[in-house]
């Protein structure tokens, strides 16, 4: 807004509530110095889909790594240095021409933080959670990912401790690419399973 440089934007009720809770907890000595900044930094810059993209690119280039990744996702992902909360029990599901995998959490918003970062808003909002288990073919088409009628769709509802990562199919005509170039092709949506590359 053009006038926002002259006066602060109005504080919304939810901001006032956050500020109230922050102030009370801080006064009670419960918020360690720098903690909020540390949490923010961690999720804004240290984790995100760029991590998952590295895992995917490695699997595309190295058949033995791919085998390890599909057999024990947690251990293979840890080889590249990624792990931690919401990534302690990873299962990687592979897309092929005949099978398409997609992940969802109908009960809340479980998501593999170490490899994909925090989930996008639409993944956490009710329409995606309600519809992906009921009409995945229609919803995928609506989200720009139409699949052939004969393709099998496997939906994975992250309802317990396992977190999922989709291993997308390697696009054609990428034989000459380096690992870094391949990783740059891999999108967040392709690793959730709402897009194909």
């Amino acid at each position: 807004m053009s006038d926002s440089t002259h006066r602060p934007a109005p504080v919304s009720p939810v901001e006032q509530r956050v500020a109230a809770l922050e102030a009370l907890l801080t006064e009670r000595g419960l918020v360690p110095e720098g903690f909020i900044e540390q949490v923010t930094r961690r999720y804004e810059s240290e984790t995100g889909p760029m991590n998952g993209a590295k895992v995917v690119a490695r699997a595309w280039l190295d058949p033995q790594y791919k085998q390890r990744l599909l057999a024990d996702g947690t251990a293979a992902i840890a080889e590249l240095g990624f792990g931690g909360p919401e990534g302690d029990h990873m299962v990687v599901v592979e897309n092929t021409a005949a099978v398409h995998n997609v992940i969802v959490c109908t009960l809340c918003s479980c998501y593999p933080w170490p490899v994909l970062g925090l989930p996008p808003a639409w993944y956490k909002d009710p329409p995606y959670r309600a519809r992906m288990v009921r009409e995945p073919r229609a919803l995928l088409a609506e989200m720009g990912c139409p699949l052939p009628e004969e393709a099998e769709i496997r939906v994975w509802d992250s309802s317990a401790e396992v977190r999922y990562l989709v291993l997308p199919q390697r696009p054609a005509a990428t034989e000459d690419m380096t690992e870094a170039e391949l990783a740059a092709l891999v999108t967040r949506d392709s690793m959730i399973g709402v897009a194909r590359l």
């Binding site: 102030a23 918020v31 923010t40 299962v91 918003s109 639409w122 309600a130 939906v155 401790e161």
Partner: protein, 210 residues
């Protein structure tokens, strides 16, 4: 279809289109990051388990749940747990916020005193047919309503983990094997859709042989 809480969204109709954006900032506003961090602070100070934290969100007033985003859910859960564990009071929160501070509703399930023995050995193996128990617990559960009473096939046996239904309601714990169970979408919804399989990860006691 019966569901036990507004959060149990699998299969619910009438919610409209997915507001899909291919990329977005991790936090759209600073308050979102603060809310996220404060829940970690409260969970730590209150000694709240993952089950208790999730249940604090699930107990939100349904209209508030559906019309607020993820970080407002986290804020509401953090404030609710902070009040329930005696870290702050509702009147302090409302005085500081300068207005109403909506919190989640009360816990309806009684505390679990006796969790029963751990189940160390999986009852089911890959390929076994199982049926999900048809029940409606008043408290927290990680068994989605849309698979209750439905039959499926075990496709993966996972680790042994604390049962959320128990850990959300006290300090008692029980550990059980978990499974990934595959359901044919046509069986779940009775609508004839083909080539669609939905996999749900379930604790041992949610299941019975089929």
């Amino acid at each position: 279809m019966l569901v036990d809480g507004i959060h149990d969204l699998g299969g619910m109709q009438g919610l409209g289109a997915v507001d899909h954006s291919p990329a977005e900032p991790v936090f759209r506003h600073r308050w979102e990051a603060v809310a996220r961090a404060l829940l970690l602070v409260v969970a730590d100070a209150a000694g709240a388990s993952g089950g208790e934290f999730r249940h604090a969100i699930e107990r939100m007033e349904p209209g508030h749940y559906l019309t607020s985003g993820y970080y407002e859910h986290w804020l509401t859960a953090a404030a609710t747990l902070a009040v329930e564990h005696g870290l702050v009071t509702v009147s302090e929160l409302e005085a500081r916020a300068g207005g109403r501070f909506p919190l989640s509703g009360p816990v309806l399930a009684p505390p679990v005193a006796d969790a029963g023995p751990d189940a160390g050995t999986p009852r089911f193996g890959v390929g076994d047919r199982v049926r999900v128990r048809e029940w409606h617990p008043p408290g927290h559960t990680r068994c989605p309503g849309y698979v209750r009473g439905k039959a499926g096939t075990v496709v993966r046996v996972d680790g042994i983990y604390s049962v959320p239904d128990i850990e959300a309601h006290g300090t008692a714990r029980r550990h059980e094997p978990t499974y990934s169970v595959q359901f044919d979408a046509a069986e779940l919804w009775g609508d004839g859709q083909r080539g669609v399989r939905v996999h749900v990860d379930l604790w041992d006691s949610y299941l019975e042989p089929s």
